[in-house]
């Protein structure tokens, strides 16, 4: 089973984010790491590949610079190879432009299944997997918490408001994976060493037949009109528990007529 996993490389969420004052978009010129949300898709792909006993896991990512750090992490987990679309023209690309680039790159990989996270941890648009599916004219199942391969189909447990739906979907298909559904493996030392020599195919948007006016600032079709600090919520009373803090909480709950 050949699987593509879309992987985003993002600034470390532990560091405070910053907007570029010129463009009002998120600064991404520091060292980037693999978005933790994507580690679940990578793990699921590895499990499906190993269960099938054949096939390859290919990572697809895009970046305005030539960042590969996050991809190396996923290769170290056990993915077989990576395609990085790297192009200066990609700076400032929005979700639809991102989907166009990823779809074009995925088109080169001949995948049975395309996995992605439900949303990235820096942009949060949550629309890219479905946009990729539409661009590739493929069926899709979003918010998967479990995927079973079954011949030329997948059986997916899809999160719903009430619980979950069991969805049957023929391949090829796009499936987005919710976080926390599998335990992403830690790369072994052997894996980390092996990752350094795994194939990393770097391409530009021209190689993919994507026009520069479909990506970057120009391709967005939207503009930021204002950036301003949000009104702050004031901190209230802080107490240190001396064994009786619960009484203060009960008193507040009484005051608010909750109890």
């Amino acid at each position: 089973m050949d699987i593509v996993v879309c992987v985003k490389q993002i600034p470390d969420p532990a560091d405070p984010g910053e907007l570029d004052p010129e463009t009002n978009t998120l600064k991404r010129d520091m060292k980037l790491i693999m978005d933790e949300s994507d580690s679940y898709g990578v793990e699921m792909a590895l499990q499906l590949r190993d269960a099938a006993g054949e096939g390859e896991v290919t990572l697809v990512s895009m970046a305005p610079n030539e960042e590969v750090n996050g991809l190396r992490s996923a290769l170290a987990m056990g993915a077989d190879k990576a395609i990085l679309v790297s192009d200066e023209a990609l700076a400032g690309t929005d979700a639809l432009g991102t989907a166009r680039v990823l779809a074009a790159a995925i088109g080169r990989a001949q995948a049975d299944l395309i996995l992605a996270a439900t949303e990235s941890s820096d942009g949060y648009t949550g629309t890219v997997p479905e946009q990729v599916a539409e661009l590739l004219s493929l069926p899709s199942v979003t918010f998967a918490k479990e995927i079973q391969a079954d011949g030329g189909e997948v059986l997916v447990k899809r999160q719903t408001e009430a619980g979950y739906d069991e969805v049957r979907c023929p391949l090829p298909a796009v499936v987005s994976v919710t976080a926390g559904v599998v335990e992403p493996r830690y790369p072994s030392f052997k894996g980390i060493m092996a990752a350094k020599s795994k194939p990393m195919d770097q391409v530009g948007i021209a190689d993919l037949g994507v026009s520069p006016d479909q990506v970057g600032w120009a391709g967005g079709g939207q503009e930021i009109t204002d950036v301003s600090p949000a009104p702050e919520r004031e901190a209230g009373e802080i107490i240190t528990d001396e064994g009786d803090a619960h009484e203060r909480i009960v008193a507040l709950l009484e005051e608010l007529r909750i109890v």
């Binding site: 405070p16 907007l19 004219s137 059986l155 049957r168 976080a179 503009e223 301003s228 240190t240």
Partner: protein, 320 residues
């Protein structure tokens, strides 16, 4: 503004609260507000009409198909056929994102996402999205041509009846979907839940990594039950597999605005705060006095959740 369409979601003949919230705001912005439903229109026409939709464009029964490709194709076909609204509003929900994403590609327009405010400036709609844990607001508008698509976070607006009569039902035919419509729901499972829903509860009690281990989450559920509320969780413990995703409060997950939010062992990662900082009252219990959650708490208790919460439960039990 001329016409706004609202993608209305319903289950069991009842319209989702997010959809009613969108109708309320759309009414303030547009001359005409109409609803789009992936399913039969008749069962929801009265409720949608009472909230201001004059027409409900309904696809009819989608069978076991997923709404994403079907509703997006139907809307795109209607727009190509000449009945284009100025904007379409979607809730940030499982299906709302699917429809908006598919439609965005079909129309070749972007989606402005994670909106919590929607205003009209110089004749165009401007959506405002909180970033960096809600400390900065970014406003965005469309500068291209075509229909504007917005994905709006739940609880951004207040649902309100308009007193309108039932909406007229109009057919919104679904074109042939080809491969894109091939996914089929073969079974539906409802997770057992007692008490109020997380995003509708008056009290929400949430647990985070400070609980130390999965088994300790039961005290969060006990406390929530005693307060007639719902149990929530930080992303950290959902990712760790302690509790299901459906409990997650935050940017990823549910936005909650209860009367009282009790954060137990939650440090206050920005991704969590976005989902709960709209709560009327916030009580936080955390052993780290420097935890960011104390910056927005009305009552902050610097202490061990394993000591404070059991005592709180005991005190509340003694009262009932």
């Amino acid at each position: 503004m001329g016409t706004i369409w609202v993608y209305a979601e319903a289950s069991g003949g009842q319209v989702a609260s997010i959809s009613l919230e969108l109708l309320a705001r759309a009414r303030e912005l547009a001359d005409t507000v109409e609803a789009v439903v992936g399913g039969e229109g008749e069962p929801v026409a009265a409720e949608l009409g009472a909230h201001g939709a004059t027409t409900v464009h309904a696809t009819g029964d989608l069978g076991n198909g997923l709404p994403g490709p079907a509703v997006a194709s139907a809307i795109a076909a209607a727009i190509e056929g000449g009945t284009a609204p100025d904007a379409v509003l979607f809730g940030t929900t499982y299906d709302g994102r699917d429809v908006a994403g598919r439609l965005s590609v079909k129309l070749g327009v972007p989606v402005i996402t994670n909106i919590v405010e929607l205003d009209q400036t110089d004749g165009s709609l401007v959506g405002t999205e909180p970033v960096f844990g809600g400390t900065v607001n970014v406003s965005t508008r469309f500068n291209g041509t075509g229909v504007c698509l917005f994905l709006v976070r739940p609880k951004s607006f207040t649902a309100e009846e308009s007193g309108g009569g039932p909406a007229a039902v109009s057919a919104l035919p679904v074109p042939d979907l080809g491969a894109t419509g091939a996914a089929r729901v073969v079974d539906r499972f409802a997770e057992e839940s007692t008490g109020p829903k997380l995003d509708e509860a008056g009290v929400v009690v949430s647990g985070g990594r400070g609980l130390g281990e999965a088994e300790k989450y039961s005290m969060i559920e006990d406390l929530a039950k005693l307060l007639g509320g719902a149990a929530g969780a930080s992303r950290a413990i959902v990712d760790a597999g302690w509790v299901p995703y459906s409990h997650q409060v935050g940017q990823t997950g549910k936005v909650v605005k209860p009367d009282v939010y009790v954060a137990c062992g939650i440090s206050g990662a920005t991704q969590h705060m976005v989902g709960m900082k709209g709560s009327k009252n916030i009580i936080a219990i955390n052993k780290d006095a420097e935890a960011p959650i104390f910056g927005i708490a009305d009552l902050g208790v610097v202490g061990d959740v394993h000591k404070v919460v059991p005592k709180l439960i005991e005190a509340l039990q003694a009262r009932s």
